[in-house]
Structures are given as structure tokens and as C-alpha cells.
């Protein structure tokens, strides 16, 4: 009876904690880390590889939880996020902070034990995301998304570093591809939930520079992301066939980006955002041998 009660309690806690890690976003970032590791096309060190997955997962999840803790007041004001367990009051701020610290420490600690350089890059991702992006810049300037992008680019760089033991040009290119892909995501959200961000007092590109400039920024960053990904793929040494697929997918992205600028609409904008996510997912799978 007592055991059943504790199982029920654990289950109900987990159901509250799982939304805190934004499972889809965490999975995609984890995939970029895997792609970064396997892009080295060297003999896989399975001990490293199997430790990279949980360490990176915990670090990404930890930084997401800490962001939720810090942004609880903003989330509560926005329609899109007001039902999150943090803003809905289902979990206390203190509890979220403790959970975020524990999960982050597990992730960073594990990463440092696997390889100190890899651990440093993973820590940099968490630091840029929580401290620089969320705590310092998010409420001050719309350019905070650059730092959000840099932190999002760290998992792929970390994977690459773990595989090759250094920050090489391919690692930087792959990180740049993710960095330029992230604005298509964040800027589309800032357009779609313009009123939400305004009411929460978060400066965004549309509120600072207007809708047209934001659409142009989305198109520009998606094209640069595609070009950088293509460039990285060539340097990685993917086969001609794989490169053709990447070029085709990039052409689709370019087509949508141009349409966004010259025939703007919420629908086209949304499709670019969705396509860019699919593009990044497929590109990551394609650079894995």
C-alpha cells in the first residue's frame, strides 16, 4: 500500500517534471550532439559515445529547467506558456531551482569525467544559455537570441570535440549552422506570439525593428544556415549523393525564405519555421556516415 502510494507520487512528480525539459527541443539538440560526434567519421569510442548521450541530455535538460525557473514570471504572463507547471503553480520555484541544479550538476560533472575539454564546451553551453541569455540579456535586448543561438550550437560542437579532441573548422561550421538555424525558430515564435512577448515586456525583433525586418532576418539566417551546413558537409567528406540531397533540401529552404520576404504571410512564415526544423533534423542524419 505504502509502495503503491510512493509510486503514484513519483509518477505525478515525473508528469510535472517532464514538461520542464521541453523534450522535443532537448531531443533535437541531443541529436545535434550525436551528429557532431559521428561527423568525425573516425572509429567510434563506444564508451565515450554511450556516456555522451546521458551527460549531454542532463546538461541540456538542466539548463532548460533553470531557464524555466528564471522565466517563471514571464511565462505566467504569456498565453503560450502560462500553463507550464512552473507558471501554473504546480511546482514551487524552489523545487524547480533544486531540480535544475541537480540535473545540471549531473550533466556537467559526467561530461567533465568523460573528457575535460568536452565537459568545458558542455558547460559553456549551459552558462551561455542560463546566465548570459536568460538572466542577463533576455529582458534587456532583442539581440539576446544570438547568445541563445550560441548556447544551442554548443551540443554539436561538444560532440565534435569529444570525437576529434579539439575545436576544428568543421566543428565551428557545424556550430554556425545551428547558430543561424535557431533564429528561424525564435524569430518565428516572436512574430506568432507578438502580443504575448509584448505583454510580458520581453524585447523582440518584431517589437524593435518591425515585422518586415524580422521576416528578412528569418530568411537571411535560414539561407546562411543552409549554406554553412552545405559547406560543413563538403569538408566532412559526405558522398556526392548525400551532398545532392542536402543541396535539394537547401533549395527548398531557400525557396521558402525568398517567399517569406517577397510574399509574406503567417502561413509562409510558419512553413519556413517547420521546414527549417525538418531541414536541420535531416541534415544532421545525413552527415552521420
Amino acid at each position: 500500500m505504502l509502495a503503491q502510494l510512493s509510486i503514484t507520487k513519483i509518477r505525478s512528480k515525473l508528469s510535472l517534471y517532464i514538461p520542464l525539459i521541453k523534450s522535443l527541443q532537448t531531443s533535437l539538440l541531443l541529436l545535434t550532439g550525436v551528429a557532431g560526434y559521428l561527423s568525425a567519421h573516425t572509429t567510434v569510442n563506444w564508451l565515450h559515445f554511450w556516456q555522451m548521450l546521458p551527460s549531454l541530455f542532463f546538461a541540456i535538460a538542466g539548463s532548460t529547467i533553470l531557464n524555466m525557473w528564471w522565466d517563471q514570471d514571464i511565462d505566467a504572463k504569456m498565453k503560450r506558456t502560462h500553463k507550464r507547471p512552473t507558471s501554473a503553480g504546480q511546482v514551487t520555484r524552489e523545487e524547480v531551482l533544486k531540480l535544475g541544479i541537480i540535473v545540471s550538476v549531473i550533466g556537467i560533472g559526467w561530461a567533465l569525467m568523460v573528457n575535460w575539454f568536452y565537459g568545458v564546451v558542455v558547460f559553456a553551453g549551459l552558462f551561455f544559455d542560463v546566465v548570459v541569455y536568460s538572466m542577463w540579456l533576455k529582458r534587456r535586448t532583442c539581440w539576446s537570441i544570438v547568445w541563445g543561438g550560441i548556447s544551442g550550437a554548443m551540443p554539436i560542437l561538444a560532440g565534435r570535440v569529444l570525437a576529434v579532441g579539439q575545436i576544428d573548422a568543421i566543428g565551428i561550421l557545424l556550430a554556425c549552422a545551428v547558430l543561424f538555424w535557431i533564429p528561424t525558430h525564435t524569430l518565428t515564435f516572436s512574430l506568432k506570439f507578438f502580443d504575448d512577448y509584448n505583454s510580458a515586456g520581453v524585447p523582440t525583433f518584431p517589437s524593435t525593428y518591425g515585422e518586415a525586418a524580422t521576416r528578412f532576418a528569418i530568411a537571411f539566417s535560414s539561407v546562411v544556415a543552409a549554406l554553412t551546413m552545405g559547406w560543413a558537409s563538403v569538408w566532412i567528406g559526405v558522398t556526392a549523393g548525400v551532398l545532392r540531397v542536402i543541396i535539394v533540401l537547401s533549395a527548398g529552404l531557400f525557396f521558402l525564405a525568398v517567399t517569406t520576404v517577397f510574399r509574406p504571410s503567417d502561413r509562409v512564415n510558419f512553413s519556413l519555421f517547420k521546414y527549417a526544423s525538418m531541414y536541420m533534423l535531416f541534415a544532421m542524419l545525413l552527415i552521420i556516415p
Partner: protein, 201 residues
């Protein structure tokens, strides 16, 4: 009409098949054929992804007429370049001119029937090339018999094109809902036949 999970799965499979064809299925060919097939299967791949994202409503966009012309034109150019060496230049000119004509007649408002005539000629010649050439080559023994599957695929995509064209002109052969229900399966079957034809032919 709302897209179901089955529709999305079928379209995703179509995309994977098209990607496979681009990545692996056309190696060892000359550069023009590779380019032509990459464009044809590339349009299928990107169109499949856009359909998944935007739903069937995307088929109502005017640009679909132009984009859908690329598939038969590029595929037939690849076939001619690969198997009919003496017609290469003529067919390349036909491909470029007819594609430009489609763009032009679809970009300018015209009261006459020229846009329809241009589409009919373009799809007619390209479609018949995709349908007949693989079957004739297979019958003559110049390629393996299964290459004729490309022709069968050509017939199927022609059928899909016809259904959509009649729907757009307001004289549908089948209801819009039926066409949309059939469309993902037709696209998958067509792509599968093309891929199988190239692999085993």
C-alpha cells in the same frame, strides 16, 4: 480536407524514397542525367515535405502548376539524355523553352487558351516520353525488363496530374476529397515505381 496521420506517413515515405534515389539511385550516370534526375526527385522530396507541413491546401496555390511541370520535364530529360543520344540537344532545348513558356503564360494574365495549350503540350510530350520510352527500351531488350516500371510510374503520375488539372479547371473527374485521399498513395506508388525501375532496370 484535413490530412491524416496515414497521409503524412505515406508522404514521408515518398520523401525517403526520393532522397534514396537522389543519394544512391543515380550514381554512375553522366552529369546531365544526374542533374535532371536530382531536380525531378528533389521536387518530389521537397513537395512531400511541404505537403506534410502545410496540408493539401498548398495544392491550390497557383505556383503548383509551374512546380509540377518540373517533375515530368526533368525526368523525361534525364531519360532522353541517358538513352536517346541523338535527341539530347533537341530535347534539352524543348525542356528549357517549354518551362520558360509555362512560367511566362502563368505569370501574365491571358484571356485566351494559350496557357492551357502550353501546359497540355509540355505535359503531353514529357509524359508520353516517361511512359513510352522505358517500355519501348525494355521491349527492345536494350535495358532490363523491369525498367518498364518507370513507364508505369509515368502513367500513374500522369493520372494524378490529370485528376488535379480537371479539378483546377472546375470539371473534376472525381470529387476533391477523393482525389486528396488518393493523392499521397498515388505519389508514393509513383515514386516507388520510379525507384524500382531505375534500380532493377
Amino acid at each position: 480536407m484535413k490530412m491524416t496521420s496515414l497521409d503524412r506517413t505515406l508522404l514521408l515515405l515518398t520523401g525517403f524514397l526520393a532522397a534514396y534515389q537522389i543519394a544512391i539511385g543515380i550514381d554512375q550516370m553522366d552529369s546531365v542525367s544526374i542533374t535532371a534526375y536530382t531536380i525531378a526527385f528533389g521536387v518530389i522530396l521537397v513537395a512531400g515535405l511541404l505537403l506534410i507541413i502545410l496540408g493539401f491546401e498548398v495544392l491550390d496555390a497557383p505556383i503548383v502548376v509551374i512546380i509540377s511541370t518540373i517533375i515530368p520535364l526533368a525526368l523525361s530529360l534525364g531519360l532522353v539524355w541517358q538513352h536517346l543520344a541523338s535527341y539530347r540537344t533537341v530535347y534539352l532545348i524543348f525542356t528549357i523553352v517549354s518551362f520558360l513558356a509555362v512560367i511566362l503564360t502563368r505569370s501574365i494574365v491571358m484571356q485566351n487558351k494559350l496557357p492551357v495549350i502550353v501546359i497540355a503540350i509540355t505535359h503531353g510530350i514529357a509524359g508520353m516520353t516517361i511512359f513510352l520510352l522505358p517500355i519501348i527500351l525494355s521491349a527492345q531488350g536494350q535495358v532490363m525488363p523491369l525498367f518498364s516500371l518507370v513507364g508505369v510510374g509515368g502513367a500513374l503520375i500522369g493520372l494524378a496530374g490529370l485528376l488535379l488539372s480537371f479539378l483546377k479547371t472546375g470539371k473534376p473527374i472525381l470529387s476533391r476529397d477523393t482525389i486528396m485521399r488518393l493523392f499521397p498513395m498515388l505519389l508514393l506508388l509513383t515514386t516507388a515505381l520510379f525507384v524500382a525501375g531505375f534500380k532493377f532496370g
